[in-house]
């Protein structure tokens, strides 16, 4: 670190590398046989996923009575997991779209992996509404498709807005990710000697030749994707929060929910991106491309969003007290001291207190510390959704309708199954597609662009 000038730009690519070194470094994992740690990891994660799918099958066969959901806790692990996974996805779009609009060059080394993670997280999220409707084979009723009853969906319901928001988010994320992949697929096509890979990369790269006349349109399209993904990602979690905020349940019916959910989503998602990147850079020896400075920047975002989340926790309590409404006040007193109080305090520890270590530059740049904190944040954000959903539902207006919620083994195994699915998909992704954007990294190298040439015409 050069402390001489605080504003001096941090080096984003370490060591002296040529452009072809970058291509070699990023594409080499795609060209060798997977290593032992990779095999061990994928055996474990795919086993988890298989068990999870078995439990999903059992749920569909028997009905959702095999879950712990009851009356009054009609939303349990299913919705907790849905909100958790949707939230994880948001970090990827933040990195690929919002940081792009803010011209944060450090995003280039991490955006591909983060976008892929978004897609896998949304896939995991999508499973839950599908099975939560009970009769999964009728889930198409969620869409406004003409049917035998001549009846339309209720467009005034936030649950339906969710259907549109999540499916749009999924499709736009996939298109954005694929758009970014096209130039790299062309690089791989021109590089590979393997005849079958050549055909696959040729088809996927659509005949892209990276000419300036193509780049001009490409950059324009990329900017538009970033510009539309930014409000989209904010809208998605806002709409998810409407599922709660539009109801009248104490603890849910608050106006702070949309920004609070969006900040929480970015917070939890960044933690997951960090977990994945710390492991990926070690596995593939990408320490020079995904540097400690990249991770430090992410830790700063974790610190900021963590404190926004902490502020939201505080404002919720304040508003409940200030409202003078006995139901609101009870809901929050119950959150802090009720049967699930330990989960509330675990959540506060993970989400608000643990990230405070990042005030120290030394700890912010320590890989072990950030790995542990990221895991804590991931756990904390899962429990945050549990606190919101379960404490409010189990203790609403009428004491006669109160009752606790306990998950069954199927709830737990379906959740671990989606964790397995997520990591399995990620492990496959890093083996078959370049997990760092080859073209974009070349564009931020030293002397990548002509100097003194733009304006001297």
């Amino acid at each position: 670190m050069h402390s001489a000038s605080a504003l001096a730009q941090e080096e984003l690519i370490l060591g002296t590398k040529s452009r072809s070194d970058i291509t070699d470094l990023v594409s080499s994992p795609l060209e060798r046989f997977p290593s032992k740690p990779w095999w061990i990891a994928i055996v474990f994660t795919s086993l988890l996923a298989t068990i999870g799918f078995g439990c999903i099958g059992w749920t569909i066969y028997n009905g959702i009575g095999v879950w712990g959901n009851n009356h009054p806790a009609m939303w349990g692990f299913d919705i907790v997991n849905f909100v958790f996974w949707i939230g994880i996805g948001h970090a990827g779009t933040l990195i690929s779209a919002i940081l792009f609009l803010f011209r944060q060059k450090w995003r280039t080394a991490i955006n591909r992996a983060a976008e892929a993670m978004t897609i896998f997280a949304v896939m995991c999220a999508g499973i839950f509404p599908l099975i939560h409707v009970g009769r999964a084979w009728l889930a198409f009723w969620l869409f406004p498709i003409p049917n035998q009853m001549n009846l339309w969906v209720n467009f005034r319901s936030p649950l339906l807005w969710d259907v549109f928001a999540v499916s749009t988010y999924m499709l736009v994320s996939i298109l954005f990710w694929y758009l970014g992949l096209i130039p790299d697929l062309a690089t791989l096509r021109d590089r590979t000697q393997h005849p079958i890979k050549k055909i696959i990369y040729s088809v996927l790269s659509l005949g892209w030749r990276s000419s300036q006349r193509q780049w001009k349109h490409y950059e324009s399209a990329y900017l538009i994707f970033a510009a539309i993904s930014t409000p989209l990602v904010l809208s998605v979690h806002s709409i998810v929060s409407f599922d709660f905020a539009v109801s009248v349940i104490p603890g849910w019916h608050t106006t702070i929910f949309p920004p609070y959910f969006v900040a929480g989503a970015i917070f939890g998602g960044f933690a997951m991106v960090e977990i994945l990147l710390i492991l990926t850079r070690r596995l593939f020896h990408w320490e020079d491309l995904i540097t400690v400075s990249h991770l430090e920047n992410m830790n700063k975002i974790l610190l900021v969003t963590g404190m926004i989340v902490g502020y939201a926790y505080f404002v919720e309590l304040f508003t409940a007290w200030y409202s003078g409404n006995i139901y609101e006040m009870y809901a929050f007193r119950n959150r802090l001291t009720g049967d699930y109080g330990w989960i509330y305090w675990l959540m506060v520890f993970c989400n608000v207190l643990s990230v405070q270590v990042f005030w120290s530059k030394k700890l912010r740049r320590n890989l072990i510390v950030m790995f542990i904190v990221s895991i804590l944040v991931t756990i904390g954000m899962w429990f945050e959704r549990f606190v919101i959903i379960v404490t409010s539902l189990t203790r609403d207006f009428l004491p006669s309708a109160w009752g606790n919620y306990y998950p069954t083994i199927f709830d737990i195994l379906i959740f671990t199954g989606t964790l397995g699915l997520f990591f399995t998909l990620y492990l496959l992704f890093i083996r078959v597609l370049p997990a760092i954007s080859i073209g974009e990294v070349k564009g931020i190298m030293k002397h990548a662009h002509p100097t003194g040439e733009v304006d001297d015409v």
């Binding site: 339309w152 467009f155 758009l179 690089t187 590089r191 349109h217 399209a221 709409i239």
Partner: protein, 177 residues
């Protein structure tokens, strides 16, 4: 003999200068292949801005109109059903879906427009026969000029290429024979 005259370059400065000279000669049927988009190259080549934003806007508005029409028609015309005592055309509740459908169509429109302007998917290219051309997706820059351009003069172009340290000055695909 192929119809494209080409040279590879290592330095971004040189490729931009060479492109500017070629553009000033009045040659229009030429292109520069670069592993990443180079700043200032579009101006040197005299490429105007892309029309994609207009198409994106059009599709975004189209999607928004489609979204609100779908909701209005189903809720107020096809089967007016009182839900929670709200008006049939309760437009504030229709905003989220209108927005989402607008974004969705905008995304499809943008990608479609990109494919249209870049003529993707493309099934063959003069570049695929040429080994040096394949470095233009890896580490080198390449200028190719179509000989059908009315201002095409091989001698002048060779001079420009050499002046700017062009490597492997050739007719595309010639080395394969």
């Amino acid at each position: 003999m192929s119809s494209h005259f080409a040279a590879n370059f290592i330095s971004p400065n040189e490729v931009v200068r060479a492109s500017r000279k070629i553009h000033r000669l009045g040659i229009r049927k030429f292109d520069v292949h670069t592993p990443y988009p180079l700043h200032g190259l579009d101006e040197a080549m005299g490429i105007g801005s892309s029309h994609i934003p207009w198409i994106a806007l059009l599709f975004g508005l189209l999607g928004a109109v489609a979204g609100i029409s779908l909701q209005g028609w189903t809720s107020a015309i096809d089967w007016p059903l009182i839900v929670a005592g709200k008006p049939f055309f309760s437009w504030p509740a229709f905003i989220p879906i209108t927005f989402e459908v607008g974004i969705l169509l905008c995304a499809f429109g943008t990608l479609g427009a990109l494919f249209f302007f870049c003529r993707l998917p493309k099934f063959s290219s003069p570049l695929e026969e040429d080994l040096s051309a394949q470095r233009s997706t890896n580490d080198q820059f390449m200028i190719i000029v179509d000989k059908h351009d009315p201002k095409f003069e091989q001698k002048v172009l060779s001079e420009i290429f050499e002046q700017h340290h062009g490597l492997d000055i050739r007719w595309l695909g010639a080395e394969k024979r």
